[in-house]
Structures are given as structure tokens and as C-alpha cells.
């Protein structure tokens, strides 16, 4: 399909695009604030709000005692208090809510809140949480084959540990919600969220009102990346509690340093592994144990952990394998979804294993990757039993070597490294096989509501949300293509729980897949009515050679009898006829992904509808003296099936690469032992800027890989290309290997920022001298 511009592009570039904080709400909303905990672990002993409530400009101050119904929320487990009622579990956890006319009034009131808190020693690290047995849920396991035999058959065994760090989503638009009370219990919430349905349901539970009283709407988000999958709900609830109390609209919008301080990140993982392989480098056995830092509450941690387990072997067939995973509770904000959702952590670990095997055997890493790839007809079953289909690994591997001129550049780099003592170059290839579907099977459902108006224009509502990824553009194109009309005739509405109920979060990269199918389903139903009316219309003039309904097609803004092509009518001229014939031009649509099932107890099933594949090759130059890394070039080939919108998909891949690169080499999220986030703002937490992107950046979509089972032959794009950024980390490691002429393994920190590169390079350089 031809590339269309982002449906909001003209609004973006003129500043007309409205985000939550830009909406005109009447009457003017009060500002909602939280008084938050300054300590990471303790108890709320007592408090007195009397003086604070008297401050001029303060309309309400609420404690947990003011919560009408339930004070526990959560995406899966309801374990998180909206307001602290006893235990305090992280810095920034809300104790009280304040509705104020100005920030000034809030700051004055905040000073007058009297509160007694008992401070306990917090648990921050995974190690500490493990020693205290703070397990969130049962350890997850996936197992296949016989490890013992596998290790016995191996020529060599390597054991080790890996670590990958937290990452802040850093959506440009911070969390924001406005709650507007209506008649009786009615409440309209504008919320920057990937999950309006969950916002609706949780708000209903906390307020003790029926879900049908609450309408949640989101036109667009200023970025989300998983950070608004579950964690926007609490801010909508804050606004709703204050709005119902004051009977006035209330807006909660987090300042950047507050947002970064109190919201969850990508889970840090500590992983231990043991791998057995033969002389060629083929893996015979592998044992992997993940430990994730879940933060203070459950959030989506178990699902994230499960996805790490599902990606623990990435693109490689491992006959004998055991994967274990646990999530540990600590006193930092509950960690949450972030593009990749555990997948990147799982894949990083196995790619380290592959790299270590290659170095041990003095072979090129890409050779070890190649011989371990899943096969097409054998060696094609994942550890959890799913058959790997539409496997494009070999194809992409060959193509990316050619595209990146891998072998020649590898030799050039070696020459360069011999000539330069303090400047070293490195190159690395990272493959990805990424499973698409929510691994919680029932979430793989979507709804849509499509209207056709008598002038031939179409209005699409669907349950997905627009966060910049271009979902609405794709839905517009899907509806236009299915109706055979120009996409300008189709408009996609703001996502609204009153239009499409019970939607899943726009997450797991499934947005276009499932909502696209739901939109198509709605369009198909409307087309049945149109076909009935229009074939009758054609036949009213023809006595013989009647037009059959099955021969009616929708194409180029016409409805045509393809057997009698002279019988045709313009789409917009046809719609009044349908209306005159008293047939509906509106329909809901529904889709549930077929065949998804997974038995968590046994660790067996078909958790994914399909896999997406891709590979990247990155070359870097590292200045060993300053730790400065220059990303010289990146080549990517990625599989999105038949792209729904080529330029948008390439944009997703480029953006994901740079975000992955940020995680791997730049973004260093640090907490101190007291649980204070010491990198809580862009002053110290550095996401990639324009000069951090590759100097040469070639992104290509894999061609001729239509995936017929999905909407218009396409595949998901959101998360899988995030993995490509890891190749920058491995390229840096490759460069550091060069210091010792590939004899000493660099202990490269994750993320590989200048601070760690300098220290490691210093060690290896000193070793060379002595």
C-alpha cells in the first residue's frame, strides 16, 4: 500500500494538535497535586490536614479515608493503594491529594500538612530482595529436553552472569488527565493513556460507581512506549477523586522531574546462565535464570517476565533448555511496560551467550548465530512447544551481510584497530525473532465501530490508541481499502470507551493487527447491506443476466458488478440509496486472534499468533580516552509482512533502533541506597539526541513476505525493532576486545556509557603495558 502521511501531521506541524494539557475545559479545571512520600519504606503513623485545608485557594485535600470505595488498584493484582493507608513502599508514593487554584496555593498547603511517618530500611537491589525472599509471585519455568544429557554432549561449558538496566520511557508528554464531573455520577475523563478501558474500570472501582457512568477519551498521546499502558490510571483516578469531591473539573499533569521520580521503568534484570556447546559452536544445552526488579507492586511484572522467558532463546534452536524467572519486590516505583516488554532483556542475555561462544571458539559471532538459527522444517520448535513458522532468519542473515558488506568492513576494522592505539572500532550483528500477541491470551481481542454517512464519508472508531505510531493512519487506510474509497473520505475518531467498550491496551505491538481486523469486520458487515441494496438497484434495470451479490466489488470509489462492469455506481452516490432502502450503514466489528493458548503451569503452548524477524549491523568508533562513542553506521533489514504504510513502518524501525541504542549505551538510570532516583530529569538522564543517531542509517523492509493470516498481509512493527539497538552495545564490546587483540574479554557495563568504557579500557590498556 502506498505511504500516507500521518493523519495528524498537519496538526503536529502547526501546533494545532491537542494533547491533554491543551484541551479547552469549561469551567477551568482546578490543579490536582499529590503530597508524596519522601522515604522509600515505612509507615504512615498519623496526619493532620486541618491547617493545610485553610490555605486560600485550596479546594480539597484528600487522604485514603476519603476514598469512596476501593483503595486498591492494579492491572492484574489489585495490590497498589491509590493513597497510602499504612505501608509506604517507594519515594513519590501519594499520601494525600490536593485540589488547588494554583501551584502556589498547593506549595503553601503542602508545608502545613502535618504527618508522622515511621522510616524503615528500604530494599533497592535484586540481591537484597532475594536475600529477604521478597518474591512477587511463583517462579516461572519453561523447560524442554534433558539438560544433563545436553551438557554431557557438549564440548565446552560456559557459565556467567549478565545485567541489563532500567530505562525511563521518556514520552515527551508527561502523564496528564482531566476529570470532568457531569450529572449524578457521570464523569468524563480525558487521559493520556494506552488503556482507556482500564482507566474506566479502575476509576469505577475506586469511586464505587458503575462503569457506564464513566467515559474515557484520548485523541492522541505525546508518546507512551508502554509507560502509559497501566500507569496512567492512577493519575486519572487522582483527578477523578478530586473532581467528584470538588464538583469541578480537575487536571493532574505531572512535571517532568515528578513523572520520572514516581513512575515505573523498564525492569532491570540480573541473569545467570550456563551453556554447553560443541566445537562448531552449536548449543546443546542452556540453563537461564532471570531475576527482575519489579519495584514496589505487581503492575505487569509477571507478564513482562514471561515475555523475557519466551525470548530467552531469541532466534536460536536449543534442544535442551531450562529457563527460570522470578520477579522481586523492592522499594522503587513499580516497574512497568516499556517497548519490548521483557523481550529485550531476554534477548540481550542470549546474545551475550552467543558472543561468548564465538570468542571461546575464536569464530565470528555471526557464524555462531547462523548455525544456531531455528530451522525451517526441523529444529523449528520453541522451548514452549510452538512451531516457528514463516522463518526468515537465513534469508535476512544473508541479505544483511551483503547490505552491510559485513566481512569486508570487519577486515577494514581490524586494520584500523592495529593502526590506532586509542581509537577502536567494532561491528556487531544482532538478530531478532519476536513473538506477536499478548501472552495473556484473552487480551487478544479488539472492537471497532464504523459509520458510513449518506454523503459517502466514513467515520472509524476503534479500541486502539494513537501515541504517535500511526495507528489511526493505518486504520484509516484499512477502512478506505476495504471500502475501495480514497482515504481522505475516512476519518478516525478519538478513542472513546463509550464508542468501543472493553478494549485491550494498545500494546504488545498488536494495535494495527487486532484493531485492523475489527475495523475490517465492521466494514464487511456494512458492505453486506450495501451489496444487497446496490445489487437490487442494478437489477431493477436488468431483467436477465442479473447482478449477483458475490460479484459486487468496491474499487476506486465505485461499487461495481465485476461480471458486468458497466453496472457501477459511485460510492458516495450509492449511500443515499442504502439509506432510502432502510438498511444500516453502521456496524460494530470484533476480532479475536485465533489459536492463542498457553499453560503457565506447564510452560507449554502457542502464545504467539506469529513471529516478526529482523537484523541489524552496527559499527561504532570508541575513543578509549574519553569514552566517546560514535555510531558510524547502522544497517537494518526488518520483516513487517506487507507493510500497511511503508514510511510509517520505517519510522517505527528507526525510532525503535535509536530507543534501543539509548537503553544499551546511553541511558543510565540510577537509584541510591535510600531509593532516591538520582537521575530524575533530563539534566542527568540522557536519552539520545540528534547527534547520537548513526551517521549512516540504512533501513529496509524485507520484501515479498506477505503474511496472509493478518490484516492485509501485514505484521506488527512496534516492539521487535527495539532489539536492533542492542547491536550498538555489542559493537562497543567488539571495539574493546580489539584493545587486547581479542584476547581479554572486556567487562562491559550495561548501559555502556563513557563512564564505564573509560574504566574498562583503562584496565585492558594497563594489562597490555604490564
Amino acid at each position: 500500500m502506498k505511504s500516507q502521511y500521518h493523519e495528524s501531521a498537519k496538526y503536529h506541524v502547526t501546533g494545532e494538535a491537542k494533547y491533554i494539557d491543551d484541551l479547552k475545559i469549561s469551567p477551568k479545571p482546578l490543579m490536582g497535586f499529590a503530597y508524596t512520600s519522601p522515604i522509600a519504606k515505612g509507615r504512615l503513623k498519623s496526619f493532620d490536614l486541618t491547617k493545610a485545608k485553610k490555605v486560600s485557594g485550596i479546594h480539597a485535600i484528600l487522604s485514603y479515608k476519603d476514598i469512596p470505595a476501593s483503595n486498591r488498584i492494579g492491572a492484574v493484582k489489585h495490590d497498589e493503594p491509590v493513597l497510602v493507608d499504612d505501608e509506604i513502599n517507594y519515594i513519590g508514593q501519594a499520601l494525600f491529594l490536593i485540589a488547588a487554584e494554583s501551584e502556589h496555593a498547593f506549595l503553601e498547603a503542602q508545608k502545613l500538612i502535618e504527618v508522622e511517618i515511621e522510616e524503615h530500611t528500604p530494599v533497592i537491589s535484586i540481591t537484597d530482595a532475594k536475600s529477604k525472599g521478597l518474591l512477587l509471585d511463583t517462579t516461572r519455568k519453561i523447560e524442554r529436553g534433558n539438560l544433563k544429557d545436553g551438557f554431557k554432549n557438549s564440548d565446552k561449558i560456559i557459565e556467567g552472569k549478565t545485567f541489563s538496566g532500567a530505562q525511563e520511557q521518556w514520552y515527551l508528554e508527561t502523564h496528564a488527565s482531566v476529570a470532568v464531573p457531569g450529572e449524578g455520577d457521570e464523569l468524563k475523563i480525558f487521559c493520556s493513556t494506552q488503556n482507556p478501558n482500564e482507566v474506566q474500570m479502575l476509576t469505577a472501582e475506586v469511586l464505587g460507581i458503575d462503569a457506564n457512568e464513566i467515559e474515557v477519551e484520548i485523541r492522541r498521546m505525546g508518546g507512551a512506549f508502554g509507560g502509559k499502558e497501566t500507569q496512567s490510571a492512577i493519575f486519572a483516578i487522582w483527578a477523578s477523586l478530586l473532581a467528584t469531591k470538588t464538583e469541578t473539573p480537575v487536571k493532574v499533569r505531572l512535571e517532568r522531574h515528578i513523572d520520572q521520580q514516581i513512575t515505573g521503568k523498564r525492569h532491570p534484570f540480573e541473569t545467570s546462565f550456563k551453556v554447553g556447546f560443541d566445537k562448531e559452536g552449536r548449543i546443546w544445552a542452556c540453563e537461564i535464570e532471570f531475576d527482575a526488579n519489579g519495584g514496589a507492586f505487581a503492575d505487569l511484572s509477571m507478564a513482562i517476565l514471561e515475555r523475557a522467558l519466551f525470548h530467552a532463546e531469541n532466534a536460536y534452536f536449543i534442544p535442551n533448555i531450562k529457563i527460570l524467572g522470578s520477579v522481586w519486590l523492592t522499594n522503587i516505583p513499580p516497574n512497568t511496560a516499556f517497548r519490548g516488554f521483557g523481550g529485550p532483556q531476554g534477548i540481550f542475555n542470549i546474545e551475550i551467550i552467543i558472543e561468548k561462544i564465538a570468542r571461546a571458539l575464536k569464530k565470528d559471532v555471526t557464524e555462531i548465530q547462523y548455525i544456531n538459527f531455528y530451522g525451517k522444517s526441523e529444529r523449528n520448535i520453541a522451548p514452549y512447544g510452538q512451531v516457528i513458522q514463516e522463518n526468515h532468519l537465513e534469508n535476512i542473515w544473508a541479505k544483511i551481510h551483503k547490505k552491510s558488506d559485513y566481512y569486508n568492513r570487519r577486515e577494514e576494522i581490524k586494520k584500523y584497530n592495529i593502526k590506532n592505539k586509542y581509537l577502536k572500532r567494532g561491528i556487531a550483528l544482532t538478530p531478532v525473532k519476536f513473538g506477536i500477541s499478548f501472552t495473556t491470551a484473552f487480551l487478544n481481542q479488539a472492537g471497532a465501530l464504523v459509520h458510513v454517512y449518506a454523503d459517502g464519508t466514513v467515520l472509524v472508531n476503534h479500541g486502539g490508541t494513537e501515541m504517535g505510531q500511526g495507528l489511526n493512519t493505518k486504520m484509516q487506510k484499512v477502512a478506505a481499502a476495504e471500502f475501495g474509497i480514497d482515504y481522505e473520505k475516512v476519518k478516525v475518531n478519538a478513542t472513546n470507551t463509550a464508542k468501543v467498550p472493553n478494549a485491550s491496551a494498545t500494546a504488545a505491538s498488536t494495535g494495527a493487527d487486532i484493531n485492523g481486523m475489527a475495523v475490517k469486520n465492521a466494514v464487511d458487515k456494512i458492505k453486506l447491506n450495501i451489496v444487497e441494496v446496490i445489487s437490487a438497484h442494478f437489477n431493477s434495470k436488468n431483467n436477465d443476466n442479473k447482478t449477483l451479490a458475490e460479484n459486487i466489488i468496491f474499487e476506486n470509489n465505485f461499487i461495481i458488478d465485476q461480471k458486468n462492469p458497466t453496472r457501477k455506481i459511485e460510492f458516495n452516490k450509492a449511500m443515499p440509496l442504502v439509506r432510502l432502502s432502510m438498511k444500516s450503514l453502521s456496524s460494530s466489528g470484533f476480532y479475536a486472534t485465533p489459536g492463542i493458548k498457553f499453560d503457565k503451569e506447564k510452560g507449554v503452548g502457542t502464545p504467539f499468533f506469529y513471529y516478526a524477524y529482523g537484523m541489524s549491523v552496527t559499527e561504532v568508533e570508541v575513543d578509549l580516552l574519553t569514552g566517546k562513542v560514535e555510531v558510524l553506521r547502522a544497517d537494518i533489514i526488518h520483516d513487517v509482512g506487507d507493510s500497511l504504510n511503508k514510511d510509517l513502518d520505517i519510522g517505527q524501525i528507526e525510532g525503535a533502533y535509536v530507543q534501543g541504542l539509548g537503553w544499551a549505551i546511553l541511558e543510565d538510570q540510577k537509584w541510591n541506597e535510600k531509593g532516591v532516583n538520582i537521575t530524575p530529569s533530563p539534566d542527568t538522564y540522557k536519552i539520545p539526541a540528534i547527534n547520537d543517531m548513526p551517521k549512516i542509517f540504512n533501513v529496509e523492509l524485507l520484501e515479498d513476505v506477505s503474511f496472509k493470516k493478518n490484516i492485509r498481509g501485514s505484521k506488527a512493527v512496534g516492539e521487535p525493532p527495539f532489539i536492533h539497538g542492542l547491536s550498538a552495545w555489542f559493537a562497543i564490546k567488539d571495539a574493546l576486545w580489539a584493545i587486547s587483540d581479542y584476547n581479554i574479554e572486556p567487562k562491559l557495563h550495561f548501559p555502556a556509557t563513557n563512564e564505564y568504557i573509560i574504566i574498562e579500557a583503562e584496565k585492558i590498556l594497563n594489562n597490555n603495558e604490564s
Binding site: 502521511y5 500521518h6 501531521a9 498537519k10 496538526y11 503536529h12 506541524v13 502547526t14 501546533g15 494545532e16 494538535a17 491537542k18 494539557d21 520511557q169 521518556w170 514520552y171 515527551l172 508528554e173 492522541r220 505525546g222 508518546g223 512506549f225 512535571e255 517532568r256 586509542y422 504517535g468 578509549l624 580516552l625 574519553t626 569514552g627 566517546k628 514510511d647 510509517l648 519510522g651 528507526e654 525510532g655 525503535a656 533502533y657 535509536v658 540510577k670 538520582i678 530529569s681 533530563p682 539534566d683 542527568t684 540522557k686 539520545p688 539526541a689 540528534i690 547527534n691 547520537d692 543517531m693 542509517f697 556509557t753 563513557n754 563512564e755 564505564y756 573509560i758 574504566i759 583503562e762
Partner: protein, 471 residues
């Protein structure tokens, strides 16, 4: 009194602080976003670190018009007096897009769109200021704009296309010089509201008088650092004297022996000047904040804050610069002696920095500067350095100065290392020995930017790098 005037939305706007909901501590961003019609300027971080709030500031000084991209979140509202502001809404409408806006659409340069107005304004300012800006200059102009969606490639592609625009009228058409001229820019502005006093003097004499009368008042110019006290630490600043409108302390004068830089000169202007004349300074300023910050921040402000990680001091040490201080009397001190401790200087409460003098150096002096930061652009130094070396005919060190930032509570010279190197041959063996002494000379701290171990190695490595580049 109590009023400021500026040009915005094709009109002279006047804010009477007595009547207004704004205070002198309000920011320009708060003012812009308070209007339902100008919500296109976004708050991404409210600390000058993301560029989402970028607007274009048009100034007229000495009959020169200058377009500058600035972060509206780190500018006090009164400081816009006498200037014109352009926001995204001024550029184009849905039916009549500015070419830069059209290019962004064509190149798929927006995804979530939240950062987009900031990027467009930064690029607009760059072109308005220099119509033949190259692609790389345009990319540099947005090195302080963060985008989390695109990975920047389509923005780089847009820069390529924008570089082809040649019609200056597409930019100048927004200038309302007629209105700027109508605003009084000679009588001191004095805003007095609640606890707040805010002064804008237009002469050095007036500024010194105000400073003498208001000893607690804080001097500010670009205020890119000072604003954070209000917006992040939530501490009101009651008395402020904004010296950014004093022409006498702005500009660069080159004489036979020295460069005299007015303390109020914008860092961006010094950067552009230094490209030809002061390479070590240019090398440092290329990575000073981002263009939006350099367009407001001044050399005097950077020095006077006396931050141990300020970018100017180490390189000014290397140039053996002098600082001219105005007060009751005028005095000149070596930059060496200016800072006395952590954010402490020798300035008396009634004094301010007038000029910075960089003596012209002899061809045999090797002057270099270095900055190590986690990210290349828009990041604060982890460690920085300024070095000055003279090697005699026999390859012996006859003069050496090694100044470091980020290694102590203030910018400091590595005197032991200097003493060791002096009169010794400038060779690898001696540098290795010197670098070992250097490791013992500082006891840096660990913080969010780096561990102390890494800082020590960085300082040592910079000496080695200096040798590698100069041997």
C-alpha cells in the same frame, strides 16, 4: 512602571504586573501557554533540556535584527520586554503552511508530534538568522531538541530539504520592526509586585546603582540556570536585576593585544566569533548546552555562577584570561583568582563583571580544551579541561598550565603535575609519569554523572590525549 511591552501575535502586548496573574518569577512559557490560542508551544521538561518549548525571539540591538531560538521555559517573563516573540501559530495555518512545516509533513518527521513545534521553531530561527544555513548547521540548531519517536532520521532529511530554501522573505515577513521600535528601551523597568522586585536597567551605571541599592538582588542575564531555582526547587527569587539589556557589556572587541568580550555577550555569539579566532574556546562552546541555551546564556553569567562544572572557566584558565569587574571602582583580576570556592567568587555585593579579556597568544603557545560528558550535545561536563603549553627548541616544557573542571569544588589547576612537567622534555615517558601524579592530585566525587574512579581516569586521559594531539 510595573509594565513591560513586547511584540507577540502581530501586536504590542503590554503586561501590567499589578493587574496580571503573572509575577516577575513567571516564565515566558507559562505566559504563552496561558493563551488558548497558543498551545502549540509545549512543556516537555521545564528545565531547558528538551527543546519542546522552543520559540523564536527577535531582538534589535544597535540597529541589528537578530532571530534566535530560545527555550521559553528558562526565561523570566519580564525579560522579553522590547523584543518580539514568534510561536508555531505565527508560522502557518492548516490551509497555508510555512515551507518548513510542509517539509516536516513530506518527510514524515513527526510521529507523536509533541516535540514537533519546538523543532520547527529552532529550524526556522536558524534559517531566519542565516538563510544559506547548511544541513549540518540546521542539524546543529536542533541538537538541543529531543524526539523520542523518530530516531531523528526524518528530521535530518528535513534539514537537508530546508537547507535548499533560499527566500529570506519567507522568514523576514514575520518581523515587526515597526512595533519593536515603538517600545521604550531606555528607561529602567521596575516591577514591584507582592514580594517581588524586578529591574531592567539599560545602562551599566544604572545597573551598578541598582545593585548598590538592592544588595540582595540577584543579577541575571540569560537566566537559563537561575530560573530553575523557581521552577524546580520552587524557591521564589524576590529581587532580580536583569542586565541583559545593557548594550555596553555586550559584544566582542579585538585590539592589537587582546580580545575584549563583554560579560553580557551571548555564548552563541562568542561561539560564532571563536570559530576563526579562538579555536580552543570554539571547541568547548560547540558542546556548551544547545543553541537555545547559548542564545540566552552569557559568558559573564557562566563565570559568575562559579560552578565547578561550568564550561568556560577551564578554557579561560588556559587562555590566561582576565576579568574586569565594575563597582565603585573598576578592577581587573586574573581568572585564576576569580573563583574562591564552590559557587563562590571575589565579587562584592555591589559589583558585576564587565568584561572578559583574552590576551592574544604567541604562536608557540599550544592551547587546547576538552569536555567529557555522557552525551555529546546538551549535557553538562563530567570532566573538562583547558591546557596551555609552551615547548622550547629542545622540546622541553617551558610553560605549562593544566586546569580542570569537575574534579574539585571549583575549577582547579593541577599544580603538582605542572611543576613536574616544567623544564622536562615533552615526551611520552614524562607524560606517563605526569599522569600518575595527576591521579593523586584530585579527589573528585561520585554523582549522577560519574563515579569518582572514572573522573580520575578521565582527567589523566585528557592529559594523554593532549600529548597525543600535540606531540
Amino acid at each position: 512602571m510595573n509594565k513591560i511591552s513586547f511584540v507577540f501575535r502581530n501586536k504590542i502586548q503590554t503586561i501590567d504586573f499589578k493587574e496580571s496573574k503573572f509575577t516577575p518569577n513567571s516564565t515566558l512559557l507559562e505566559y504563552i501557554r496561558s493563551n488558548q490560542k497558543t498551545k502549540g508551544t509545549k512543556e516537555g521538561c521545564n528545565e531547558g533540556d528538551c527543546g519542546a518549548c522552543t520559540v523564536v525571539l527577535i531582538e534589535k540591538n544597535d540597529n541589528q535584527i537578530k532571530f534566535r531560538a530560545i527555550n521559553s521555559c528558562v526565561m523570566f517573563l519580564p525579560s522579553i520586554h522590547g523584543k518580539q516573540i514568534l510561536t508555531i501559530e505565527d508560522l502557518g495555518t492548516l490551509n497555508k503552511l510555512h515551507p518548513i512545516q510542509q517539509i516536516f509533513i513530506d518527510e514524515h518527521a513527526s510521529q507523536c508530534g509533541f516535540c514537533t513545534p519546538g523543532f520547527i521553531m529552532a529550524l526556522f530561527a536558524q534559517k531566519a538568522d542565516k538563510i544559506n544555513s547548511s544541513k549540518s548547521e540546521l542539524v546543529e540548531a536542533v541538537s538541543g531538541n529531543l524526539c523520542r519517536c523518530t530516531g531523528y532520521q526524518p528530521i535530518v532529511n528535513s534539514a537537508q530539504e530546508i537547507s535548499k530554501i533560499t527566500d529570506l522573505q519567507l522568514f523576514n515577513t514575520f518581523l515587526r520592526e515597526d512595533l519593536i521600535d515603538k517600545i521604550n528601551k531606555s528607561d529602567t523597568i521596575f516591577i514591584n509586585k507582592d514580594i517581588f522586585k524586578f529591574f531592567i536597567p539599560f545602562s551599566l551605571k544604572e545597573a551598578l546603582k541598582l545593585k548598590a541599592e538592592n544588595k540582595n538582588a540577584i543579577l541575571t542575564s540569560g537566566s537559563t540556570d537561575l530560573v530553575l531555582k523557581v521552577t524546580k526547587r520552587k524557591e521564589p527569587i524576590e529581587e532580580i536585576i536583569d542586565i541583559s539589556s545593557i548594550q555596553e557589556i555586550q559584544g566582542i572587541l579585538e585590539t592589537k593585544d587582546e580580545f575584549i568580550i563583554g560579560a553580557g555577550t551571548k555564548i552563541e555569539d562568542i561561539y560564532q566569533f571563536s570559530k576563526e579566532n579562538l579555536p580552543a574556546l570554539s571547541n568547548m562552546l560547540a558542546y556548551f548546552g544547545a543553541k537555545q541555551i547559548r542564545n540566552r546564556a552569557t559568558i559573564g553569567g557562566n563565570i559568575a555562577t562559579a560552578s565547578p562544572i561550568g564550561d568556560f572557566l577551564p578554557v579561560l584558565f588556559a587562555y590566561k584570561a582576565k576579568i574586569v569587574i565594575s563597582g565603585k571602582n573598576e578592577r581587573t583580576v586574573d581568572v585564576n583568582n576569580f573563583v574562591t570556592g564552590y559557587r563562590q567568587t571575589i565579587l562584592n555585593p555591589d559589583e558585576l563583571i564587565k568584561n572578559i579579556i583574552i590576551p592574544k597568544f604567541s604562536p608557540n603557545q599550544i592551547i587546547k580544551s576538552y569536555k567529557i560528558s555522557k552525551r555529546l550535545n546538551l549535557d553538562i561536563s563530567t570532566v573538562s579541561a583547558g591546557f596551555n603549553l609552551i615547548v622550547d627548541k629542545n622540546n622541553n616544557v617551558s610553560d605549562i598550565l593544566l586546569a580542570f573542571g569537575g574534579m574539585a569544588e571549583m575549577t582547579k589547576r593541577a599544580k603538582k603535575t605542572e611543576n613536574f612537567m616544567l623544564n622536562k622534555e615533552f615526551n611520552e615517558e614524562n607524560i606517563v609519569m605526569a599522569s600518575k601524579i595527576l591521579l593523586t592530585e584530585f579527589t573528585p566525587i561520585s554523582d549522577a554523572r560519574s563515579s569518582k574512579e572514572a573522573r580520575s581516569i578521565m582527567a589523566k586521559n585528557l592529559l594523554i590525549k593532549f600529548y597525543q594531539e600535540t606531540k
